[in-house]
């Protein structure tokens, strides 16, 4: 098969899921309030705003893809903190386009 005949089909190769915005976390809400009330300080801390990028990626996601990762022992141990400082860092690697950025 000649892939060049269907270039749109390959696209970036990223797979994604729908963005679900959570707003009931107390710390997240408080952080948003503090950020909104202190724009000058926030700009001084950094001109970068990852929230916009996060929203853009959420809109491109494909539902359910990558959910397997959330069930892995590695992820659950990392998230729960059970492994202590030894398991504080989790690194997911893969070639370009395998969906690393879109892990839900």
């Amino acid at each position: 098969m000649d892939f060049t005949a269907y270039p749109h089909a390959l696209n970036s190769g990223n797979f994604n899921c729908n963005n679900v915005t959570n707003s009931h976390n107390n710390i997240i809400n408080l952080n948003k309030f503090i950020a909104d009330e202190n724009p000058e300080i926030m700009r001084w801390l950094s001109p970068l705003d990852p929230r916009r990028k996060h929203q853009d990626l959420g809109n491109e996601r494909f539902d359910g893809v990558g959910n397997w990762f959330l069930e892995t022992r590695e992820f659950r141990e990392w998230k729960s903190g059970e492994g202590g400082a030894d398991k504080a860092v989790l690194f997911c690697y893969g070639n370009p386009g395998v969906g690393k950025t879109f892990l839900r």
């Binding site: 963005n19 976390n25 801390l45 990852p50 996060h54 959330l70 997911c92 395998v98 950025t101 892990l103």
Partner: protein, 199 residues
């Protein structure tokens, strides 16, 4: 990842900060700016904000508004994280950082982790970054990522469903797409798998 953490049921409060490295933005994505972007998402205590306001007012008087240096930023992040029950820091595409920035970033995060061991750090990146991760975080957990053939097929089916020019698609082409692309992409991902291989 961020949404998965935020959607987690439970009573315990936690803070999540995320950053996406981008090779097209090297000029602005300095290590200090990256740490600042993370810090902005973790300020959730009035006393931490008070400290920042003081530092900000002081900096404004110096040289017409002094920028924060990386060590200042790291100290502020430590202050911001210390009172939090749990903080998650997620950084995507480490391979897109300039090499110098990558080492600074990993060193700074290691420094923070030593003072706040409850912090959880999540990285993604291309395989060659693994060596740097291990260099800074010897006990870091490494997981290969790759889409399964089933996921690729489901994705393609969804995309084909949304095709606005359906007449241009023949049955044969559709079948070719659904059969051959998952095979080829799976072959490209040999060496990575959906099953973690080592920790």
């Amino acid at each position: 990842m961020i949404d998965a953490l935020c959607d987690e049921p439970g009573e315990q409060d936690f803070a999540v900060a995320a950053f996406y490295c981008d090779f097209r933005d090297h000029q602005e994505q300095t290590t200090a700016n990256i740490m600042g972007a993370i810090l902005k998402q973790l300020v959730a205590r009035q006393e931490v904000l008070g400290h920042m306001q003081t530092a900000f007012q002081k900096a404004k008087k110096e040289l017409g508004g002094r920028c924060l240096r990386l060590p200042d930023m790291v100290e502020m992040l430590k202050r911001a994280i210390a009172p939090l029950p749990q903080a998650f820091i997620c950084i995507d595409a480490l391979d897109e950082c300039l090499p110098k920035n990558l080492l600074e970033l990993l060193g700074s995060l290691k420094d923070i982790l030593q003072e706040a061991p409850r912090t959880r750090i999540f990285f993604t990146g291309r395989p060659h970054v693994e060596a740097e991760i291990i260099r800074y975080f010897t006990t870091g957990v490494i997981v290969p990522i790759g889409p399964s053939r089933h996921e690729i097929k489901r994705y393609l089916e969804k995309k084909l469903e949304m095709d606005t020019v359906r007449d241009a698609m023949s049955y044969t082409l559709r079948e070719d797409i659904l059969r051959i692309i998952p095979e080829r992409i799976s072959e490209m991902c040999v060496g990575t798998s959906t099953v973690p291989t080592h920790a």
